[in-house]
């Protein structure tokens, strides 16, 4: 039992280090990709090719003055950034990064907690993210953060609904909530092939949940200054961004598990490459797509954003469920 606890803690710490590295280099990747898309070279002064930029940013933010404005609701003001980083870190614990590996005679599954309701757990935890933004906006007691927080609340709950419906097809096909079982069910056919509409809706809804362009209305800087984090400074400010990039890592990992076959190789003859490498390739592919989307489209108008979710995505995802059910029934008969 003690060995099991030690192994779990080691796994968790490795996973934590991996996530934080992804977050740090995610910010650099964002700026580099943005730079190259706009025909610039992006950050290049800190270290070779700007590789030490995340370190410089982190240190700078730690040593900045931590301003708590006089009008704020202090406990809530401090709680909001903690709530911003906690949900993605909670979510990362149930994501399987690969099959089990054998180390010193122990068989170690590459997941911290192999929970059998992993999908439900992920959605429960992910819906906490909205609190950080609403509470942050409310506690600041300033006009722009309040407006940003309200807009964000309406946007995030609208797209959460669609996100929940978009993965229903995958759950029907796999017949399980466990991410490990869902990956096993994709041994031959990845669900992106049988659920293309579901995958598309998942990516759109995830982009909106992450508050990224073209859905970044909560922080529309041309209208709302900085949105919900206008009054935040120093590390508290950085934590909102940390949470956002960690959420991107989680959304990419979940997308890879649910739709892109997790650690399964695309073809059987490529199975000599370890599963974890395939998983990371898929994770970074979705991560890059999110960056790509951000720098390719302009921001939507707020009414367009809300109507798009309720009038188009919601009926479309219902249609996807009914169609999946119908086809499954028909295939079963023949």
């Amino acid at each position: 039992m003690l060995a099991l606890v030690v192994i779990t803690i080691v796994k968790l710490l490795v996973l934590f280090a991996f996530t934080m590295t992804c977050v740090a280099y995610g910010t650099l990747a964002e700026r580099k990709v943005c730079g190259h898309i706009q025909d610039r070279i992006g950050p290049c002064y800190c270290g070779p090719r700007g590789l030490l930029q995340p370190l410089a940013d982190g240190l700078k933010l730690f040593f900045k003055e931590d301003i708590t404005p006089s009008e704020v609701d202090k406990p809530v003001f401090i709680l909001a950034p903690v709530l911003a980083v906690a949900p993605p870190l909670l979510a990362i614990g149930v994501i399987p990064f690969g099959e089990s590996i054998t180390l010193f005679g122990h068989k170690i599954p590459l997941v911290v907690a192999d929970v059998n309701v992993a999908v439900l757990y992920l959605f429960a935890v992910a819906s906490f993210s909205v609190y950080s933004i609403v509470l942050g906006g409310w506690a600041s007691n300033s006009k722009y953060p309040l407006l940003g927080g309200l807009r964000s609340a309406a946007q995030m709950i609208s797209y959460e609904l669609v996100l929940g419906l978009s993965i229903m097809g995958v759950i029907m096909l796999a017949g399980s909530f466990s991410l490990t079982d869902i990956v096993h069910a994709q041994k031959h056919w990845w669900f992106v092939l049988t659920q293309p509409l579901g995958f598309l809706i998942y990516i759109v809804a995830a982009t909106a949940e992450l508050n990224r362009l073209p859905f970044d209305l909560p922080e529309a800087e041309s209208e709302l200054v900085g949105g919900y984090h206008t009054e935040y400074s120093s590390m508290k400010f950085a934590m909102f961004f940390l949470g956002e990039y960690a959420n991107m890592v989680v959304a990419s990992a979940v997308g890879a598990c649910l739709f892109l076959g997790g650690w399964n190789p695309p073809f059987a003859f490529l199975s000599f490459i370890p599963g974890i490498i395939w998983f990371l390739i898929k994770l970074f592919f979705i991560f890059f797509t999110l960056l790509w989307i951000r720098w390719s489209w302009p921001r939507l108008r707020y009414d367009q954003l809300m109507t798009f979710s309720w009038k188009y995505l919601l009926p479309l995802s219902l249609l996807n469920i009914v169609a999946t059910a119908g086809v499954m029934l028909w295939m079963h008969r023949i």
């Binding site: 931590d66 006089s70 950034p81 059998n116 709950i157 017949g175 206008t230 934590m239 219902l318």
Partner: protein, 118 residues
Amino acid sequence: MEGVYWPLVFVFLLAVGFGGMAVIMSSLLGPKKPDPIKLSPYECGVDPVGDARKPFHIHYYVIALLFLIFDIEVIFTYPWAVRFKDLGVFGFVEMGVFIAIFLAIFVYVLGKGAFEWE
């Protein structure tokens, strides 16, 4: 296979611990030079006008209520989706009825103009 839940305790401790640590660190490190203008709410440089907490558009409440209704329906569909393979035609028809009711509500709300945003 049964799920393993106890590692989630460590995940929770790490998540909350890290968040708490970062907040405490940022208040310990860094200079402290408060002055009244720096601590006032930001309103593009001019003096703040009135309180921020004013009544806001009622539409936000409507969206929140609609979310509650529809999210409960989504949660109802989850158990069905997991067992769909065993339920067969019976399950399909049952869910057809449920989704028809869902769509009826949707069309009613649409007709009422709840999704229009001015």
